[in-house]
Amino acid sequence: MRKITLDRLDEFFAAVAGKLKLYIPVDTAGGAQFQQWRAGAKMSDALNTTRSAKDFFFPQTENLMEFKTEGKKIEIIDVRRENEDFAIFGVRACDVRSFDVLDRAFLSEPADTYYQNRREHGVIFSLACSKPAETCFCGTFGIDPANPKGDIVCYKTDDAIYMEAKTEKGANLMDSVSDIVAEDEGGDGESAVNAQKEIISERMKKLPLASLSTDKFGGDKTAKFFDDPAWKSLSESCLGCGTCTFVCPTCQCYDIKDFNAGNGIKRFRCWDSCMYSEFTKMSAGQPRLTQLERFRQRFMHKLVYYPANNDGMFSCVGCGRCLSKCPIQMNIVKVMKNLGEGGENNG
């Protein structure tokens, strides 16, 4: 356990930033966002960032390769380079879990090397939540915001941040800055952190969604929910925009497209959304014709299909972003509550 008092936080950030690229959440006009730390940057007090931390490993767009063509000949140019090491400070427990979810998709055979490259070079400072929001329901998925995973786990109290390296990557990084943040031997660390955990646990119990349960869902429930009448009313007003999927820390649908820049062709990967009407449209046909089918796909994937292929793990982490960002306030909580309740009008 190491401790840095809040008045020396900048010093700590500077030290870490001296070793690798450091990203911290800062307040912007668009809510908290991860930004590269620069001298003077102030860490946001917000509970969570507007965009999730998945961007670091699965960026919204990334160049995969380039082509040069001349006459009938093609040249493929591999534009990848080894990623620089970087650290993200202040990732909440839910987002830390999202990396597990993404790992199972991207690192399963054949592993996505672009993702892998980034993942290997990222160090995660997770930060326990002190004041969860009414939209939080990470507990539903067995996530404990008092005990986040991550390379280095941090707890913020009124005057200090306590840190504990949990992985080798984390330990190495912390060792490299030990002149700034020393081991808190015999200090108040243990008790301060425990007190903090206590507060969080109490607060978690008070959350309005604390009782939300995944019991009725799981990998074997395709037949049970696929034709549920509730889908119709749940999806009825869905605009088919991509907000929920883009702020979601676990959504990983993508598209690969070519851009002819005139000086060469750039093949890039970008986020896509299963909510978009064009998503599954192919010259051969369109298997998900209506918004109902697309809407159903998204939630069935999170609650049934993903668990079916990943040992029962759900691909929702209860971060609550979609609850606050959906233009029409439709979200996974409403889906979970209304599915399987019989009757179209309960949606």
Binding site: F259, A261, G262, N263, K266
Partner: protein, 146 residues
């Protein structure tokens, strides 16, 4: 590494309506009225054919200035096309200005088929203006840069 640096030349895309301005450009040619080779003309039937996307696309691909030339108001071959152009471009340019993009990079000029001299003068002036602004940075797409 020694690079013999050529002086910066802007890239100018000129959309010219077939009936007046393109003919005006031809007349400038007939009269051998010189203007910089930076200007590349695209022929459109009428200035009202020019979609704002064409202009933005030109900037994306590396143009430093875009100029639209059409018949004088009232002289449109299609009666009213340039009146619509005038409204569209007034609003578009005002919006670009509002976004902080140099307004000198876009222009609309009315050039008749008889105004070869005006065409050349306009192009000379526009090239000079754009050249003095330097490379387009505010509405560029880095991917398209060499």
């Amino acid at each position: 590494m020694s690079i013999s640096k050529e002086p910066y030349r802007p890239l100018i895309v000129a959309f010219c309506c077939n009936w007046c301005s393109y003919a005006g450009a031809d007349l400038a040619g007939n009269n051998r009225l010189a203007y910089p080779a930076d200007v590349k003309i695209i022929r459109v039937p009428c200035s009202c054919r020019v979609n704002p996307t064409f202009i933005l696309r030109a900037f994306q691909r590396g143009a430093d200035g875009v100029i639209l030339c059409g018949c004088h108001p009232g002289d449109c071959h299609y009666t009213s096309g340039n009146y619509y152009t005038r409204r569209r471009m007034a609003l578009l340019f005002s919006m670009l200005d509002y976004l902080g993009i140099e307004r000198e990079r876009t222009r609309v000029e009315w050039v008749s088929a008889a105004e070869g001299a005006k065409f050349a003068a306009t192009m000379n002036d526009f090239c000079e203006t754009v050249a003095s602004l330097g490379e387009n940075k505010r509405l560029e797409d880095l991917r398209c840069k060499k």
